[in-house]
């Protein structure tokens, strides 16, 4: 900072991508991550992962269904969302996203239905009030691996496109050096998968019996991802500090003078280290590891979006941000959380997720 220049009048731009956007990127990332985890049993049939798969599928569905609502709410003209399909500008990653999201969700729902058919059949056979509906939904109730695999190819392709577009959409914004690094899509992806593992650990405590992670090497996977996250963060810092990459150097120069940003960086690294330590050394505290991983995934997005928009493109210093309480702020966070919980309750009440032992209960 040059102490000889004091800015007395300038415009202060507010954040234009609201906390709704943070929620969207968080939820869609979790959904994709959880979907990938669910493949371990439903497609790959690794026995140890059976319960993880189940819980992950629940996570993928709940987050996947909530995410588009958050995205729509981030639009300042949500009623015009049809314009995305009527007038797509294919130069824009966001325009592609409008097609990838329904593809992914369609693929996810199809895959989930195929994977859950045997459960639906079991529920139908158990009798009771909903039996007829379950029978219809089960559509024979076969565990058809061939069909699941076909749906997986589709859903996996779409999930990859979602992961790609969410990263690229932000990365291509060269006006924001912090966003404009090739690391960003990878960082989004890794933290999303770590967050998804966190979600499984948390859901398993609430919905399952809390031991899903003991069969499968889920904690080891979480630890491995934390190592990658930390390595990537270190590489980012090194590229910036050494000046090897001018883009990283510029991004670093924008945030380094700010104490708030430095604290954020230490916090993020500390959280990753804490998750790593818990995952390796304290498997019995896996709920804590899961919560921290979830928090890290969310915080990374909050920092990138809300923090990133606080860096002026022309003005001196930083724009200040206080979370508004209404639609533009807190409501975005609380609203999506509420919707997620509602969908979770709905799915839990109609399907058995805790494991086959509970299927007939």
């Amino acid at each position: 900072m040059n102490p000889n220049i004091v800015e007395v009048v300038n415009v202060s731009r507010e954040v234009a991508w609201l906390p709704w956007a943070v929620q969207y990127f968080f939820l869609i990332g979790l959904s994709v991550g959880a979907f990938l985890l669910s493949l371990t049993w439903y497609v790959l049939r690794w026995p140890a992962w059976k319960r993880v798969s189940r819980i992950a599928l629940l996570g993928a569905l709940t987050c996947g269904m909530t995410a588009p609502v958050a995205l729509l709410s981030d639009l300042h003209q949500p009623g015009r969302f049809l314009n995305f399909y009527l007038y797509p500008n294919l130069d824009s990653w966001m325009a592609w996203g409008a097609f990838f999201i329904p593809l992914y969700l369609g693929g996810l729902v199809l895959y989930s239905w195929l994977a859950l058919r045997p459960d639906l059949k079991r529920l139908a056979n158990a009798g009771g009030r909903g039996a007829a509906v379950y029978r219809r939904l089960a559509y024979g109730g076969h565990d058809s691996l061939g069909a699941i695999r076909a749906a997986t190819v589709f859903a996996l392709g779409a999930a990859a496109l979602v992961a790609l577009y969410t990263g690229m959409e932000v990365m291509v914004v060269s006006a924001r050096p912090l966003w404009n690094t090739p690391f960003l899509p990878v960082q989004f992806f890794l933290t999303a998968v770590a967050g998804a593992i966190g979600l499984v650990l948390v859901l398993d405590r609430g919905v399952g019996d809390g031991t899903a992670a003991m069969d499968a090497p889920l904690l080891r996977l979480l630890a491995a991802i934390q190592v990658l996250v930390l390595a990537l963060g270190a590489a980012w810092l090194l590229l910036g500090m050494s000046g090897l990459s001018p883009r990283h150097a510029e991004a670093l120069a924008q945030v380094a003078p700010s104490m708030a940003w430095r604290i954020t960086a230490v916090w993020a690294a500390g959280s990753a280290l804490a998750t790593l330590w818990l995952a390796v050394r304290r498997p019995q505290w896996r709920l804590a590891a899961g919560l921290i991983a979830l928090h890290s995934a969310w915080m990374m997005r909050w920092t990138v979006f809300i923090g990133g928009q606080g860096i002026p493109k022309t003005s001196a210093g930083y724009y200040s941000y206080t979370l508004p309480l209404g639609h533009e702020g807190l409501l975005g966070i609380v609203g999506t959380a509420g919707l997620w919980i509602a969908i979770l309750i709905l799915l839990i009440s109609v399907l058995p997720w805790g494991g086959e032992r509970r299927a007939g209960a």
């Binding site: 102490p3 800015e7 731009r13 234009a16 009527l86 996203g97 060269s174 003005s315």
Partner: protein, 246 residues
Amino acid sequence: MSDGKPSSTRRAFLQAIPAITAGLALPTSARAAPGKHHWAMLVDIRRCIGCQACTMACIMENAVPENSFRTIVSTYVVQQLTAGRTTAGTYMLPRLCNHCEDPACVPVCPVGATFKRDDGIVVVDGDRCVGCAYCVQACPYDARFINHATNKADKCTFCAHRVDAGLLPACVETCVGGARIFGDLNDPQGTLRRSLNAAKKNGDAIKVLKPEAGTRPNVFYIGLDDRFRGRVEGQAALWHPTSHGA
């Protein structure tokens, strides 16, 4: 004004800057076909007195909501050592959309609502804009914002509605110091070209903001200090607009 087309600021018009041979190595109109207009602006910072009359005129003309700005005169207090003494001066920098030749805001718009007209003016189709604010992120100049009255992307339009009617943009019309010169880069006899040519002849450097962004702005500056070309390294603004209503 001739032919009912905007060609000058009042002040510049009166000053009758001598015409210089056209086609010197000045910012050229790269894309506009001959016969078409290519609207652009020259801001002579030396003439700006920081009165914000342009800021106000723009707000009145374009019904810009409270605490939002399509143009503003960034104002800085600069201390420097002159002849062994520390002196303080004020530096003014009128900012607006640069109506870039390669606008970063256009390719990102998912619905093609932001586009560049044939005459070079970058505009938002308000009927199509979904308010996604991707363009707000992409503009390297913080020239865009979401208008809370319309919930659409907003920014300077060079007062396209006035220009189309043969008038000057409101900020140019009202500029007290005659610092804003608007005109057609394709008109060799127009005041803009003549002012650019005159500046060139005087040896005044003609600069744009953030040339490294690759956007090729159509707002040019005379008297642009390099310390203010990009993000200003200095102490943060002492004044911020209060937050807008709920």
